[in-house]
Symmetry: C2
Subunit: 381 residues, 2 copies
Amino acid sequence: MDIQQVAKRAKVSTATVSRVLNRSSNVREKTSAHVRRIIEELNYVPNTNARNLRVGRTRLFGLIISDINNPFFPELIDAFEGLAAEQGIEVIFTHTNYDPRRLQNCVRRLVERNVDAIAIMTSEVDEQALQEATKVQLPLVLLNQRSLQDKYRNVMVEYSRGFQEAVEHLRALGHTAIGFIAGPSHLRSAQRRREAFCLALKRCSLEVCPEWIATTDLRVEGGKIAMQQLLALGHRPTAVVTTNDLMAVGALQAAHLAGVSVPKDLSVIGFDDLPIADMTFPALTTIRLPRSEIAHHAFISLLEGIRTTKVTPCPVVYPRLIIRQSTAPVARTTGGSREAKLSKGNFSRHPKTLFRTLKRRASTQVEFHERHAGLTRVAQK
Amino acid sequence: MDIQQVAKRAKVSTATVSRVLNRSSNVREKTSAHVRRIIEELNYVPNTNARNLRVGRTRLFGLIISDINNPFFPELIDAFEGLAAEQGIEVIFTHTNYDPRRLQNCVRRLVERNVDAIAIMTSEVDEQALQEATKVQLPLVLLNQRSLQDKYRNVMVEYSRGFQEAVEHLRALGHTAIGFIAGPSHLRSAQRRREAFCLALKRCSLEVCPEWIATTDLRVEGGKIAMQQLLALGHRPTAVVTTNDLMAVGALQAAHLAGVSVPKDLSVIGFDDLPIADMTFPALTTIRLPRSEIAHHAFISLLEGIRTTKVTPCPVVYPRLIIRQSTAPVARTTGGSREAKLSKGNFSRHPKTLFRTLKRRASTQVEFHERHAGLTRVAQK
DNA sequence: CTGAAAGCGCTTACAG
DNA sequence: CTGAAAGCGCTTACAG
């Protein structure tokens, strides 16, 4: 079933059928209606391959991520695909599974598929892997690759604001002893978050205590181990910020196991705002990395890249603090010994008290957002 | 840069270049090496659109899911895409967002893209939406659509085994009062799970107590509310099985809030084995729906569907119990009043006790798997 | 083992 | 407003 058969049946040329299909305006309404009826009748579906070959574009975008099982990505994919669908663009996505060597192969596959553009949303990008795409002048967009900022379109993440908000929030609750669970320093994103955290402390005139910074891997288990280290300290922090939500989950577990009540005895703040942040107990206060915003900027950048080769300034995205239940005012008896804390371990809170706490939190959050709303709007432009 | 330029530069015909590209054996090694060198030199990348048009296949599969933000899907997508990549097949995926009307549109888009086959992994499928695909004889595979079992390829899920394992496990721990948190009865998958649970109780000669079955929505909040209802009962269950892991998370939260210790005072079993099942506190014992197996069967079915139109029997997948920390032997003081339980609320367990418990669990799990391994292997054929 | 040529199903500049 | 025809970049039956 091809356009010829439709043309024959409708007693017009294939050119006319094609024009009807593409809503080209220069067709008499009567002819057009007639052709459409025949198309319907024959269940004709145009062949996109043929069309693409002719037109030289595929309306296909490539999306490369690290790992779809990482809960960070689904929302990003979802948003990206949604924007694409609106434009009649389909998305092919592949993942590197954190293996830099696989990136080159991913790019290659997408280039062979003649995608119109590629978004590479992995945290590490080796420039060499991009060659396959640049050789054929394919528009690209990267995620937060500072070193490639000038040569490629990029969506940048400005960490400092989010950590600033987190530290200010803790400060307002009376915390001055604030610890950090850091990721491996060879990972750039982990390194940047750590720097942003330290900077925020300094801006709040708080001490950066090296003993309170525990370095570990980015997984739940890492967070757990790091928190156990922090809890074992003689003089320990009353609040802990983590490099990502998974580590925060581990930190909560470690606290539970040690009989340390969160948020009563210890406040915890995560980073990412994964879907699980809402499911932990207590629900996690965290710095939200706005994934759909990232997807949005990335997609727009690519559309722009198709129109023009002019490189415009990189859009910037600002993580923001989301206040839930894992942070509370610092306990009266600060700096107590570990034994003292342990014996106080008690997780049952009276429902009424909890309810009151929740209400207070809710209003705090609203105020906070309002306070920063203006800034954010400006920043998002 | 096209095959002609390569041919000219290599001083051969395009046919020869094409043969080299497709590793067709009938090319002299010397010619082949020469052509490959030129290809390399010119950075030639073949145009897949042209190839597809000529060959009449795209090596493109469509994958339709409900919602990528549902943590059930990423692992399935991952496995499916991995298998496809091995075969040089790319995957386009779209999602219906649970809207049955969008399914038809999804199918249509994929048909226009000339995909070679479509996997529809949504829980609800309206047969009418499939017409666009069946009209062009496109191979399809569905997920557990019993009513369409005879007309379409399908990957079936046999719930009963998993629930049987769950109930047997609880039984072995001494539980006889087992409750269930059910999903909306208009959703087929929820309905089936409930039936499978009741059947398992009967097979274990346990009472199906209607009071202990709480119906609610499939989200965390639903599980929380339902668990609160169950906890409020005078004579309440000592163990609760839920329709999915999100509800189990809610159930755990409700227990925490009520000061009921899991697993000491109450055992909880989920369903799905989402990534979060490992992150809850305590880690969730749950019935694993084997997503990568589903992806595997679906993919194989499609390959088969391309080769032959003969419909073979549907592959069946068996959920299996994964034992973690949310189940424990029934407490000595069973059937105590709510007040009695509340006053006992205490979540701090001594690390050593926990460790012993973990070890015991681990060995239980291994035994369990061994016991069923034979059966499963047969079933998977 | 290699080449000349037809043709996959479209779109679009050109002509009328 | 409509049609005849070229051509997008490949693959493959056919001929040698």
